[in-house]
Symmetry: C2
Subunit: 768 residues, 2 copies
């Protein structure tokens, strides 16, 4: 953890001072993205110190050959890996023929970075003295345009401070890049063509195996003291690179500026044989707008995003910065316009974990996107899974399931499994439940039932079939049991009767049965189509029901709690508080067997069920289970604190809720786990949003009505946020002692506040 | 399975006809070894078809960098891999300048291989027509000398059949070899020197990292029609190879012969700076003896081995061939003279599985070596573990154990762990029990207590400490439980309270306590030394006792059996007989999760405990457990059928016992598992021996007396074997209806036959 590294600021992420050991961490923290592409905050100029170079194009991946120690039947042969794309941001800078490189210059001072979240840009400035004695001042600003999402722009300025200097800018494209994360050091890119056309350069390349065709492009404009100058560019190319040299004699204190326009076009959006033309069109448009006009547009685009998604916190600038960082990164990662994309756990900030989609999307991200965007965005996320249903059925077949049973992969890019630990890949099957739950959650929040007959019901049927086949009847227990699973708490593997998994399995079957009935009554033509396609019979459905009616749930009479799994009470039940601090985090200190036989819980497991099915249990039951399990929880998953924060708030334990909140909201900014250099924890950021909206503000949907139970940490003066509920935007402002509600537009809305029905009228602040 | 491939013969393994698809399998089956080195039956001449080249030197290994998909704390960074050594058997053969290569010549006929087990040599003969039209007859014979165990000899003969021919022999040494099995395609050998000295060639090389220095050497003698000729050898060398050309004009029907002498000297036995001199000495001696004299010696050496270790079976030549093949391979692999060596699961026949030592050595091999060799051999095997005690303590420390607790590795070469699956490496800890059991078994059989105060007790203490720390007290069960283990049945992972593991843990503690008492009384100076070294206290010992007195054992009242582990009765208990045959073998057909939640048992688990602790249970209890567990056993481990065969014989189920016996004895010869090309299953071969001696003949040690309960499969006329019991050799001949006993030497011995005490006098056949 490093609390002094990032400076507190309400709207910006700020770093001051150059520290080579922090470069990789800052490359993660200052990452930028626009949903279509993203990049780590690598320097434009050459840097020979330790760096993790990464530029990523949404939906462009590589099927890396699986690497394991010991093969198990059913493992995927290949899996999709996030792929470093050709570099378009590079600008080599020479000052009197000496290369600017912060790793080797004589001194660096006044180094400063800013990630401006309000306007969506990244800036960097510093002064440096080169080995040749020349002192320069450098200012850069860059962004990836939300409006023209194939284009990014860099404004790079050098001012010689102690003498005139010959300055050469060499903007380049480089397709000879490698991946930080690769199993076999394979080549991932096949460069097809490098072309240069006066001021423009293009590299056409396709990914190996997946054959995604891309064209990376660039064009530059040059300025002296803000006056555009026309210099001949001196083009050069090699097999995998294209560059131009712009050399200029610059006087002391004059500023030499390059605006570099670059980016990617891909064959998901264009004909693969006309990518250069598409790139040229994008470039021409961007160059004609120019940097300043594009920056203005960028500010406006971000202003629109912040309009509904901002959360303000008064009286705690670090909390304010934390929550905005989370909201900003979520919006940089995914904007909900393309059903082939999803929310990778590292977004565009790193390569760890193959694939892009975990159950995190359904369990943590959908609530955020439902409430802060048009409801079509959440529907697009659901469609992503519908589009992968056939692959999920194939995946289940590989594991011996039949009759259209579907098992969604643990991690995926294109519907195929991207993970290869048997205890996760084959056994962490509760993920299937989250996918069904998201359908329920979407309908509950939006009241848009149309998704279920159109697409969702087929998914629900595939999932119900899976659970029905996955259990077996125990003659000993006279109940259906589920053997050999890994629950959300991945610090237990291959356990029997994980309560959460059994519970969500039962729920999935019941929810599928209920919706089959509803669709039969209200959407008969869809019913006929689906029945024909999936071939379910009444006999099959009653066999499902037999399972859901007779599911076994491990329970302790003595403690009056459901047990996380069979045998939990055999463990040595020493609480985390009583565990020697030198042993933490256990995932770094202990061998795996020791973790497994310990009682320690990585993230909410039984409590995850209490979170998702809150209305099935009394507050007293929640409290009993929270008191039983939380003391054994080490929260070593980024997804853990948010659920506990929401439950602590519900139980009126605001200090504890606030502690959990801090841990989730500044996880990356304060680098709790010493791993931020690998990238950011994008999906858990949605959990942070939930901690405020569902936790502190207590937002729920109760019988088609939005309900709040506002509370506020004593450290804060106030907090406020907006939610889009069924196409009405409600603003909530929680203060110490009272809460204000407002609705946008011209229709009133009824909401529940601490159980009381209140009517909120347009343009009138309601106090509660 | 291929029952027609190897021809039945009492003393030889015979193959007729050339089949390129069988080459790799035959390379395994016809492997030769002499305890110090071994090699697959690769052709001497060039062969460009599919082949698996392997020549191995005992104790020479390479620490290969671990490869896993997902790293777990505690995995070894490197592990010892069986290492392909420089090739010394190669002889390129040219006929009129055309290279002899069975893969590309016009035709091959009369191809025949023989592995003569009685005399210890491998022969091959064939006729071939080359592309140039020349027909030749080739006869080869080779062996690795037991007497001069650094040397092997090849007798290679070519006879042109249809015309005169110019024949060139090019014997060579080649250190540019690779490994079939490698994680990262590393280079394993560093060649230091290639030297040639008239007729002799030497390659000095050391292994990377481990720095084992070796010298590979060769020298040849040439003959025409058995008359030695002196030809100048035309020496050539490269950086990693040495060769000599011996060219000769040979008349039609004349035989041109080369005797190639070669092999390895290693720095385990010689000064690493004088290896060429040592090699020269070995070569000079071998060459001066000559092929024929060395072959005579070889026959005598094997005759001595067969004298005590042979098992004869009358009336079933395939069973006879099978058991001799097993005994032959065990003796080729390990002869018990060097405490730094052990019995690799593939011996010198392949590279699969890193390391050389599994619990197989203690559980399966020690009984064979105890009964067929001098008892010093078994003691040497025990010392191997004593010498690794410090490493076992380090290994346990890596997993969080303290105070001298020892966990022996799952697989090892030098005491360090060579395996990296968490469910095996960290959890298949019952291996520790087998190591303690072997100490008990050695004393029971030999009555040599001296090993325990001298060395064994320290091992027992380390193991007892491990178990004492590995259990925890369950407040729920009010007993000590052992969570998260993998039993001998590796088709269950991370289970709680595996009965076998709990049972052997309890036994280990009790056996350690008992021996601490004995040593205290009878070997006080050893007691003082050990107490000082290991620092145990009375308090500690009583804490051990508390664990062994209060160990939990899962049990079913309903079935009146101990349960393999907690929750076993929740499984869907469909017997193997009722499982669709298309699903077998499940380890090839099913994903791992499906195997784990099934009731199917890979190899004896609860029954392994009944085998090892037979005298703790009544025959009726054995029968009940056998009837409960065997029907769920798929026997997909080569170590499974032997234990079941022994138990079936004890239960008078001779047909079943015989079926199991067949499965174990010809596992490799009939290639049951379609994998013999990877190498032979050496350690399970000791299990085959046990099936006859302990199974059919019912041999046990009962209160210091050798006891027999002879039975014979109805398919056999008789079987006979010898055992060395406390330095007396007893010959047992079991016929249908009666059994004959004889003792060698001049002392009588008392034995138990079916419970009756009988005195066997020297030189007199006793009928019982």
């Amino acid at each position: 953890m490093n609390q002094d590294y990032i400076q507190p600021n309400a709207w910006s992420i700020l770093e001051e001072g150059f520290n080579a050991e922090r470069v990789k961490s800052s490359e993660s923290l200052f990452s930028i993205g626009n949903g279509a592409m993203g990049q780590r905050a690598n320097f434009e100029e050459k840097y020979t110190g330790p760096t993790f170079q990464g530029s990523y194009i949404a939906g462009v991946y590589y099927p890396d050959k699986t690497r394991v120690g010991w093969w198990k039947n059913g493992y995927p042969e290949y899996f999709a890996k996030v792929l470093n794309a050709p570099n378009w941001i590079g600008i080599n800078v020479k000052i009197n023929d000496e290369e600017l490189d912060l790793h080797i210059c004589k001194s660096v001072s006044k180094f400063k970075r800013e990630l401006n979240m309000q306007e969506g840009w990244l800036a960097r400035s510093f002064e440096a003295e080169l080995q040749n004695g020349i002192k320069i001042k450098v200012d850069t600003k860059r962004f990836l345009s939300l409006e023209l999402d194939e284009v990014g722009v860099i404004n790079y300025n050098v001012t010689p401070l102690n003498s005139d200097a010959k300055i050469t800018y060499t903007p380049y494209l480089d397709a000879s890049i490698t991946n930080e994360d690769t199993n076999w050091d394979d080549q991932f890119w096949d460069v097809l063509n490098v072309t240069q056309n006066n001021q423009q350069s293009f590299i056409e390349a396709k990914t190996m195996k997946t054959e995604f065709h891309t064209c990376t492009f660039m064009q530059s404009r040059l300025f002296i003291n803000q006056e555009e100058i026309l210099i001949d560019c001196d083009n050069e190319k090699t097999e995998k690179t294209a560059l131009c040299n712009y050399q200029q004699q610059v006087k002391k204190n004059e500023t030499y500026t390059i605006h570099k326009f670059g980016g990617y076009v891909v064959d998901r959006n264009h004909d693969k044989n006309a990518l250069v033309a598409a790139a040229k069109e994008a470039l021409d448009k961007a160059v004609s707008f120019g940097f300043d006009a594009m920056l203005e547009t960028q500010k406006n685009s971000w202003a629109q995003i912040w309009h509904t998604s901002d959360i303000t916190i008064e009286g705690d600038v670090k909390a304010q910065q934390g929550i905005r960082f989370n909201i900003f990164q979520l919006n940089q990662t995914y904007l909900g316009t393309d059903a082939s994309l999803n929310i990778g756990p590292k977004g565009f900030t790193g390569e760890k974990y193959g694939g892009s989609t975990y159950w995190d999307t359904e369990a943590y991200c959908i609530p955020f996107y439902m409430a802060t965007k048009d409801q079509s965005v959440a529907r697009t996320l659901l469609e992503y899974r519908y589009n992968h249903l056939d692959k999920a059925i194939e995946n289940a077949e590989k594991l011996g399931f039949t009759n259209g049973a579907a098992l969604y992969p643990m991690v995926t890019m294109n519907g195929e499994e991207c993970h290869n630990e048997w205890e996760i890949t084959f056994e962490e099957i509760h993920r299937n439940g989250a996918i069904a739950f998201a359908i329920y959650n979407y309908f509950r929040y939006t009241n848009d039932y149309s998704y279920i007959p159109e697409k969702g019901l087929e998914v629900l049927i595939g999932i119900a079939r899976f659970w029905h086949q996955r259990v077996n009847f125990s003659m000993d227990k006279r109940k259906f049991v589920m053997l050999g699973v890994t629950g959300p708490n991945e610090y237990e593997n291959n356990v029997n009767n994980n309560w959460y998994t059994n519970y969500i399995a039962k729920w999935c079957i019941e929810y599928a049965l209920e919706n089959i009935e509803t669709v039969k009554i209200d959407h008969i033509s869809d019913y006929i189509r689906i029945k024909e396609k999936t071939n379910f019979t009444d006999e099959e459905l009653s066999s499902w029901k037999n399972v859901s009616d007779n599911m076994y749930f491990p329970h302790s009479e003595k403690h009056n709690v459901f047990l996380q799994q069979d045998g939990f009470l055999d463990k040595e039940l020493i609480t985390v508080e009583d565990l020697d601090k030198s042993q933490r985090p256990i995932n770094q200190k202990w061998s795996w067997d020791r973790i497994l036989r310990s009682p320690y819980i990585k993230q909410a497991d039984t409590l995850q069920g209490f979170y998702m099915f809150e209305d099935h249990f009394s507050t007293e039951e929640l409290e009993r289970h929270f008191d039983f399990y939380e003391p054994f929880t080490v929260h070593e998953s980024s997804l853990s604190p948010c659920v506990h924060s929401i439950q602590a708030a519900k139980l009126d334990r605001m200090d504890q809720a606030y502690t959990f909140y801090l841990r989730t909201s500044r996880l990356d900014l304060d680098d709790y786990n010493h791993e931020v250099e690998e990238g950011l924890h994008i999906t858990s950021m949605a959990g942070t949003w939930m901690s405020i909206v569902e936790g502190f503000a207590g937002m729920r949907v109760v019988e088609n009505t939005l309900s709040f139970a506002p509370k506020i940490p004593k450290q804060w003066k106030s907090f406020s946020f907006k939610v889009n509920f069924r196409n009405q935007v409600i603003k909530v402002n929680v203060q110490q002692g009272e809460t204000y509600f407002e609705v946008e537009g011209n229709q009133e809305i009824k909401i529940l506040v601490n159980g009381d029905l209140k009517t909120i009228s347009p343009n009138s602040l309601k106090t509660a």
